[in-house]
């Protein structure tokens, strides 16, 4: 039955590609979370009236975030080829995708972090300050816990974008379902391979969204 719908699909190869996609998505999501969070916090804390209020630092961070958020991902991959070669040593395989994935997604996530942090009631920060909290305490015990639902729903959205980015990274030979769909499916005219890769990507996206929603609901005590 399945062989009739997908006559050309090599299932072990498809499974291997799916695992590569999963690997690229997972690692780049973790890296994006860390770097995006740091950038978002920096944007927030250097903005006026905040602990590290600094116009220049705020402008520089903002400019960095805006530039890399605005470059289309496919172009970003090409622009980052020298950096990737320097960092990873090769342009082939899943690891070669990480610099482009993280540099493309982290600024996007940083913006979402900023939105989440801005939603925190100013009074709460003031209360913490009035208790004598240091900036470090405010970050770990107020800013992050109070914005956690926003941070989690933000990383869910970012993770889903990253699934899409990994598929695009397939064009430059990063491997995964994108490469499979493009090389084996599109270029050889085997639509069933493209379809199977698409279905697997969709399943991955739905599972990510589902997990993200569950966590967000559970931690939101508002």
């Amino acid at each position: 039955m399945i062989d009739k719908i997908f006559p050309n699909v090599d299932w072990p190869k498809m499974w291997e590609a799916a695992l590569e996609t999963l690997y690229m998505t997972a690692v780049s999501t973790v890296l994006t979370f860390i770097i995006g969070l740091a950038l978002g916090l920096l944007l927030f804390l250097t903005s006026p009236h905040q602990a590290w209020a600094n116009k220049l630092a705020n402008w520089l961070t903002g400019a960095f975030v805006n530039i890399f958020r605005s470059i289309p991902f496919i172009i970003l991959i090409i622009l980052l080829i020298p950096l990737t070669k320097f960092l990873v040593g090769t342009m082939r395989g899943p690891n070669a995708a990480f610099p482009a994935l993280v540099i493309g997604a982290a600024p996007f996530y940083a913006r979402m972090v900023l939105i989440g942090l801005r939603e925190i009631d100013r009074g709460v920060l003031e209360a913490a300050k009035s208790m004598g909290a240091k900036t470090r305490t405010i970050i770990w015990k107020v800013l992050l816990p109070e914005s956690l639902p926003a941070l989690v729903s933000g990383i869910t959205v970012t993770c889903i974008s990253l699934v899409g980015y990994t598929a695009m990274a397939g064009i430059i030979g990063a491997g995964g379902l994108g490469t499979l769909a493009f090389l084996d499916g599109f270029q050889r005219g085997r639509e069933d391979v493209t379809l199977a890769a698409t279905i697997l990507i969709l399943i991955l996206v739905f599972v990510v969204q589902w997990i993200g929603d569950i966590i967000t609901t559970r931690i939101d005590k508002r």
Binding site: A128, M131, K141
Partner: protein
Amino acid sequence: MPYEARQPSCHVHEMVPNHSRQLALENERMDECYFDNNLNPFCSFAEGFFYERKIYMISLKAVSKKFNTKQGQIVAVDGVNLDIKKGEIFGIIGYSGAGKSTLIRLLNGLEKPTGGKIIVNGQEITSISEAKFRQVRQKVSMIFQHFNLLWSRTVAENIAFPLEIAGVPKDKRADRVKELIELVGLEGRGDYYPSQLSGGQKQRVGIARALANRPEVLLCDEATSALDPETTDSILDLLVSINEKLGLTIVLITHEMQVIQKICNRVAVMEAGHVVEEGDVLEVFQNPKQPITKRFVSQVSEKGQAEQTMQRLVELYPNGKLIKLVFVGEQTEQPILSKLIKQFDLEVNIVQGNISHTKSGAFGTLILQLEGDSSAIEDAIHFIHEQKVLTEVISND
């Protein structure tokens, strides 16, 4: 050593308002043994200094705060002098924009003054380092109009927050939190999240959190303004009981005279960045001087309204004599009326009455119509005078 003689060397005294200076002097005479004035040549300075540390929790000397905005400079607080005694409940009242919020935020460093000095418990806080200041802050805690609780933490975790900041070990934190939950009457609610609580309960959490590090001053920033009248009363009762139990100095700002009336010992009235009137609550109620103070007082006593209707009362009750009794403090507890009726052959008719209870006793007016023999009326008025109740004859019939 007479007070006047050492005044020039004790500059701190010069700033003290007249009334509190007198009171302070009395206090000082009471503990004469504190310093031997005749022997110690430095006594004048030292005594002034120590005396000030002893009496005052917070002193503001010519404190100003200016904000630079795009629209130009705004002077929120303009040369304010205030002395708040240890253990008292001090109220600051004013309409929004009067500068009272800025003033209270200056007291725990959420704003820095642009001029003047702020002394909290003998330490000048305007010039100390940030690290030192964080320690002072733990002794000056604050509750807020919108409670400002962390919604991601339970009641118990919210109360534990300042303890975490102060570096209290975990097992000690749990004990203290339990104590505080009991103190504010939230037993059994420790594991609730703020979103599951009513406004009054949230403010109780705010109070417990503020008390966690055993502060010496509690600042209340419109703490009851978001609550309904009944809840306001229960929160105010809690504040009074804390003040009495813990000897905490409470500074509160509000725009509601009822709050001042109910719990404050002294009050300062603010308008356009200035303190325009200051004194014991009862005195201010009795004899408001500034128009704005009169307006606030009339919120509670409706005194202004009463004066307007006085003429109408005279027309309504043309017989006998109309007299107004003004009660201030304890006398209200005495059964003056029943004595009056028993001792004199008079018809006594209550025309209008208004008694409010302030922290230091009752305050109010009662208008009576006395009918009968004119000499009996004279005697009756004389009798009321003897009870130390202010009497005023409104109409002579």
